[in-house]
């Protein structure tokens, strides 16, 4: 416990100090925080519960649109804002901006949670690949439909309110980094708390054998819905922050971007190790560093690299980094290893 405490304190200190150590990478660090949140949320039902969703992008995009809409709609008519496009006729004062952002983030987290609860009963009754394809359909449908809705900008996109003129670009970067880092810490603490209860065991039971779990008297549907709702809450929050960070929302390229974000979150969780607490965090960090490097040096080929990366990770590395570590150092994971047994196995090989 003591060792863990020092580790957490170190990571927290590093997290707070990061924008001052790497002042040039503030935006990248904020995106990293958002990516980690997404990976953690995907892992709740993808890794722990065994329901591999391609559709959590739905909550992310929903959160993004809701946050921006609330931020604008609280003070100005929304329709005129989106119609004016890039040329701003309305300007947020600093207090309006921050109030709007706060209210927007609350809405962005709560509405997706409600949506997850409402559709959960219908969708979570599907299993395995049917669930995967169904959620894939949901995500793409949301993107296509939101691209046809006039009030949130339809095809031409939605410009989120620009950061007010206090402190310039530096302040903007620091604000969004702080926001996303706080959200990340919040997510991590909540998810860690949830995992330390019986809830995680129930989710794992559902993953391992749902019929048996049900036969043991667990109301699987209830827990599945709750798991998805927790996932949706933080997914929506991450979406709201990302919307403000990017500054521009497009239905299929930014918000409901199943081709990028929707796959990224699955990939990051798998790369780090499904069904572990730290796996998604490590996976997202490694993935983001790799991705940014690749995106910068091989511009234009990034999707090719992404496709190859998916195939390689899925085929050769399905257990992820944590799974690999676990196999290598089982003692660290609290597994008892019989040395004689291990040696015998090695000799057999």
């Amino acid at each position: 416990m003591n060792k863990n405490f020092i580790l957490y304190a170190l990571i927290l200190t590093f997290g707070i100090a990061a924008p001052f150590i790497f002042p040039a990478f503030k935006v990248q660090l904020s995106i990293l925080c958002v990516l980690i949140i997404l990976a953690i949320t995907w892992n709740i039902q993808g890794g722990e519960m065994g329901y591999n969703s391609f559709g959590n992008i739905l909550f992310y995009g929903l959160g993004m649109y809701l946050c921006a809409s609330v931020q604008v709609g609280m003070f100005f008519p929304l329709a005129e804002w989106t119609e004016s496009g890039g040329e701003k006729t309305f300007v947020h004062t600093p207090s309006q901006f921050f109030q709007g952002m706060a209210a927007g983030l609350v809405v962005a987290a709560i509405i997706p949670t409600i949506v997850a609860g409402l559709i959960g009963y219908a969708i979570l009754g599907l299993r395995g690949h049917y669930f995967a394809i169904c959620t894939l359909g949901l995500g793409v449908a949301a993107g296509e439909i939101s691209g046809g809705i006039e009030i949130i900008g339809a095809g031409q996109g939605f410009t989120t309110p620009p950061f007010p003129n206090v402190g310039g670009l530096e302040a903007r970067g620091e604000f969004f980094y702080l926001l996303s880092f706080v959200a990340l810490v919040l997510t991590f603490i909540v998810v860690r708390g949830v995992y330390s209860t019986r809830f995680r065991l129930i989710l794992n039971a559902i993953r391992d054998n749902e019929d048996k779990a049900e036969a043991m008297g667990i109301q699987t549907m209830k827990y599945k819905i709750i798991g998805w709702m927790i996932s949706a809450f933080f997914c929506g929050l991450a979406g709201g922050i990302m919307g403000g960070l990017v500054g521009y929302i497009d239905s299929t390229d930014v918000a409901f971007d199943g081709r990028e974000m929707g796959v990224f979150m699955v990939l990051m969780a798998i790369l780090g190790g499904k069904g572990t607490l730290w796996g998604p965090v490590i996976g997202a960090t490694v993935f983001h560093i790799f991705k940014e490097g690749f995106w910068t040096f091989f511009l234009g080929w990034q999707y090719v690299a992404l496709g190859v990366l998916i195939v390689v990770i899925v085929i050769y590395f399905p257990e992820g980094i944590m799974g690999w570590l676990r196999e290598k150092y089982p003692e660290r994971f609290g597994e008892v290893v019989d040395e004689a047994d291990r040696k015998a196995q090695v000799e057999l090989k």
């Binding site: 591999n52 391609f54 219908a122 969708i123 009754g125 599907l126 299993r127 395995g128 690949h129 049917y130 995967a132 394809i133 169904c134 894939l136 359909g137 949901l138 793409v140 449908a141 296509e144 439909i145 691209g147 046809g148 095809g155 081709r259 796959v263 699955v266 798998i270 234009g300 080929w301 999707y303 090719v304 992404l306 496709g307 190859v308 990366l309 998916i310 195939v311 899925v314 085929i315 399905p318």
Partner: protein, 294 residues
């Protein structure tokens, strides 16, 4: 609308049926690989689009694109076998989700490579077949659509006969029933799998060539075709050929009506929503018997 404008209804139905035959052809390939190898291929639609570009390039070089119906499947067969050898054979006997994710990766890869190679423009291969007018020119049917439906039916029937009569067809059906038993009885299942994936890719090639003649193709248009074929297969069930044909046509008609009533911008959205509704409907129907979709 159905009774107010009968001509539009007739038009939509005819368009939908002709389109649906094409979807059924793609879905047939999907059902084949799903049944035999137990994988779901998300890259199905991208194979279709690639097949379409083959026909389009023949058109650019002055060959009539209808020949693409012959050339495209031959090329696509080898593309399919290549994909099988590189990727699919490593996911065949694993979890279905692994195959979904791996083929999703292939799909992204293909999308982007096609974008580099052929550009991001919407293109079509002009067949110059003209149009047929029915009911005092109130209903307009491009001949290319009729051509594509006829070719699809010919290929589908040809494949059914091939699967019934030929040695490879028998081996494929045996592997689908029980791959272990087939292996014991001397079927080279590895070869059968490769051939199945190749045949599936070839079917996609035919469909793609027809789509490039009839409609338009674009590097990023693959995924809707995958979803359509998945939908047709889950409605009809694996190995139910008349069902595949019927539900394909039904889907085509649904799309045309969605296009007229909701507007073209919601067409793809309607397809994806229909998928969700079908899955949820079947889930509720089965849950009454305390079962779930398998």
């Amino acid at each position: 609308m159905v009774f107010q404008y009968p001509m539009i209804t007739v038009q939509a139905c005819l368009d939908g049926i002709l389109l649906g035959v094409l979807f059924a052809l793609i879905a047939y390939g999907m059902a084949l690989q799903w049944g035999v190898m137990n994988i779901i291929n998300i890259a199905q639609g991208d194979l279709v689009i690639l097949g379409g570009y083959i026909a389009y390039f023949m058109y650019l070089y002055g060959i009539h694109p209808a020949w693409g119906v012959i050339v495209s499947p031959i090329i696509m067969y080898f593309v399919g076998v290549g994909i099988y050898k590189l990727v699919i054979n490593k996911v065949v006997d694993r979890d279905l989700f692994i195959s979904i994710l791996a083929t999703f990766g292939i799909s992204i890869l293909f999308m982007q490579l096609m974008n580099f190679a052929f550009g991001a423009d919407v293109v079509l291969a002009n067949s110059g077949y003209g149009t047929t007018f029915l009911f005092d020119s109130n209903v307009v049917l491009p001949n290319s659509k009729i051509f594509s439906a006829v070719v699809s039916i010919v290929f589908a029937i040809g494949l059914v006969i091939y699967m019934k009569k030929s040695k490879l067809g028998r081996a494929i059906r045996a592997t689908a029933q029980n791959s272990r038993a087939a292996k014991i009885l001397g079927v080279d299942t590895e070869k059968v799998y490769a051939a199945t994936f190749g045949i599936n890719a070839a079917l996609c090639g035919v469909a793609g060539a027809l789509i490039s003649i009839t409609f338009t193709i674009h590097p990023y248009m693959g995924l809707p075709y995958t979803i359509r074929s998945f939908m047709i297969v889950i409605v009809a069930g694996l190995g139910n050929l008349p069902g595949v044909a019927l539900s394909g046509m039904g889907l085509g008609v649904f799309e045309e009506f969605a296009d007229y009533i909701l507007g073209t911008e919601f067409r793809i959205g309607a397809v994806f929503l229909l998928l969700v509704f079908i899955l949820v409907y079947r889930r509720f129907k089965l849950s009454k018997k305390r079962e779930y979709l398998k």
